[in-house]
Symmetry: C2
Subunit: 170 residues, 2 copies
């Protein structure tokens, strides 16, 4: 069974967390949701989901894929050194990382986008470029282990590419 780690916090964009969450479950994956503290986190539209893990207790080696949803959550998550270190571990082992909307901000802080093709919500584009990313205004950008998209309307193609990565034998 594939294991997916979702990192988020309060004020996540509800569809960007929940649509992939249900999609990974449909695929039979085990999912852990990690945040700065264990407990319920609440989306901008009022949906709640349990963060069943604290970032401090995550061992990235336990997971096959990292998923970073958007909303305002990444602005808080990027300040957490555990989140940054976890991202480094996935990139270091070339394991799939999927991020949408503001999610790539965490990878900017981690310094992982230099020379990488990527996209994000349009207001985040200047940050990505400053971080050395090759920014592409496309519904989905796949560059090696990294899958990025811009916004909720990109979810269908984002998930198509993300599920492909999840299914790759490792």
């Amino acid at each position: 069974m594939k294991k997916v780690l979702i990192i988020s916090a309060d004020d996540f964009e509800d569809t960007e967390l929940l649509v992939p969450y249900y999609r990974f479950k449909e695929e039979g994956a085990h999912i852990d949701v990690a945040s700065m503290r264990k407990g319920a986190i609440r989306g901008r539209h009022g949906y709640e989901i349990e963060a069943n893990k604290a970032l401090s207790e995550i061992n990235p080696d336990d997971y096959d894929m990292l998923f970073l949803p958007g909303g305002k959550a990444p602005e808080a998550v990027r300040k957490d050194m555990d989140a940054v270190n976890i991202s480094h571990s996935f990139f270091g082992k070339n394991k799939p990382v999927a991020a949408i909307c503001h999610g790539p901000q965490i990878l900017v802080t981690a310094g992982l986008l230099k020379g990488r093709r990527a996209t994000s919500y349009k207001s985040v584009a200047p940050e990505l470029k400053l971080a050395g990313a090759i920014y592409e205004d496309k519904e989905v950008v796949v560059d090696g282990n990294l899958v990025t998209s811009r916004q909720p309307s990109d979810l269908p193609v984002f998930l198509k590419e993300t599920i492909k990565k999840l299914k790759e034998p490792r």
Copy 2:
């Protein structure tokens, strides 16, 4: 390309409409959203989606599958004779119909559940039984052309079965 008809209205349960909507798009389906009137409809959590068709202009023969999401919308939709007639057409031609949560209320009004195995949100169960359905408290019930589920947490298995139906050659 498969064509899916979603029938809903204001106060839909956002995830129950949007998660399948994005999932059908991932599958490459064309989707029309129909309501009593054309125009934006708004979910209980504030998400909006465009009803690009009025129920009165729908020809059910144009579609491969009917999907009825939940929330408070079905209580309004069931009073619309076009919605009832459209449901009859899908059942009459044995085409797939998927309904979740309060969605099956429309099929109750249409008198289509007599002797059929089905599920729904728990508060709707008495109605289904009165309508002659064989109610099963399971995350998904598949009976011929009909796929039903209870609530948002059932979405992964609901969609697994619904996508199977959508992919069946006709």
